[in-house]
Symmetry: C2
Subunit: 196 residues, 2 copies
């Protein structure tokens, strides 16, 4: 296998890239300038040398603990539990949340062999044991696995006297009742609220 074919094979392993996109990408790289190739190649090869998981919250970071965990201006009584770092980034992008995070790096999925132990829920439990956190927001996805994880964490932390909430579920902004699925409509109906 030549260098082009083996590059295509490795590019095909990236998410969202089929064989055709990998081929197109490889040919694009062949036309790109060498400085860009050298830089991109180095960035990929050394990515993990620079970035680690925050030992406190699980966020990806260059300095451990991460910027968010070390920021004393953030609300230390509020902890938001997310499935993955991308979710943390999306929540940060809203600029609406000023508490701390806990990244599970997954979700309870018995069929995939991911149980409470694999998610390191013990680490979350220990983190809450000093009593400084007053509210835990469970921000897992509104999916079967996300809901299972919510129920499990709710049971795990229920006796600790910590307030446990989850993100509201309903119609997305800009969404269309016509195309919404029944479950979403049912939840939006159940959680209907007065007009402010």
């Amino acid at each position: 296998m030549g260098p082009l074919d083996s590059l295509i094979a490795n590019l095909s392993r990236l998410p969202g890239l089929g064989k055709k996109s990998a081929v197109r990408m490889a040919f694009h790289l062949l036309k790109a300038d060498s400085a860009y190739l050298t830089e991109l190649g180095r960035q990929i090869a050394t990515l993990k040398d620079h970035i680690v998981r925050c030992s406190v919250c699980g966020n990806y970071t260059e300095i451990d603990p991460c910027e968010i965990c070390s920021d004393v201006r953030r609300d230390q009584t509020l902890l938001c539990v997310v499935e993955q770092v991308q979710d943390l980034m999306n929540l940060e992008a809203t600029a609406e949340y000023r508490g701390l995070y806990h990244v599970l790096h997954g979700v309870i999925a018995p069929l995939d062999g991911v149980g409470p132990a694999e998610l390191g829920l013990g680490r979350l439990e220990r983190r809450l044991s000093d009593g400084s956190v007053r509210e835990v927001i469970l921000a897992t996805n509104p999916t079967l696995e996300g809901d299972t994880t919510v129920l499990y964490i709710h049971r795990l932390l229920g006796a600790k006297g910590i307030k446990i909430t989850r993100l509201a579920s309903g119609l997305p902004v800009g969404g269309d009742l016509e195309y919404a699925d029944r479950l979403t409509i049912a939840r939006a109906l159940k959680a209907r609220a007065g007009i402010e």
Copy 2:
């Protein structure tokens, strides 16, 4: 800008990748094993060290001239002109063509500043001057630019006594008359053939 952000910025420059796909890809890479990252990074960084354009046909190759140009079993009287190396690969994949190729690495597009000189059509003309090629198949895309290129090359080579053909244009296999555009239907009608 941290290493993750600058990686995302560079990944966004790849074709077909928006910001969101680049972010997803970067997080995928963070979870990938280090051996894969090292290999992929090295492949990208050194891609151009290994692969050059064939000095005869313009195909990408590790050894110049390329495998196809040096294959004496191929029909040396038949030359297929394509826009890009991907097209050559697709033609090879059909296993129907056993002649030689000429890769233009582009198409005449005056609006983009690509004229006959930029395409190196002089190189094509010189290649045909020894009289060994008897038929030139113009396999550019059936687009405005592809058609312009066909007309230009036809005029350029017309006086040389070489047979010049182009790929048939018509309905794609598995296509649907209902959804075909008018030009395609018109061409399919004009090039209609008896039933074998």
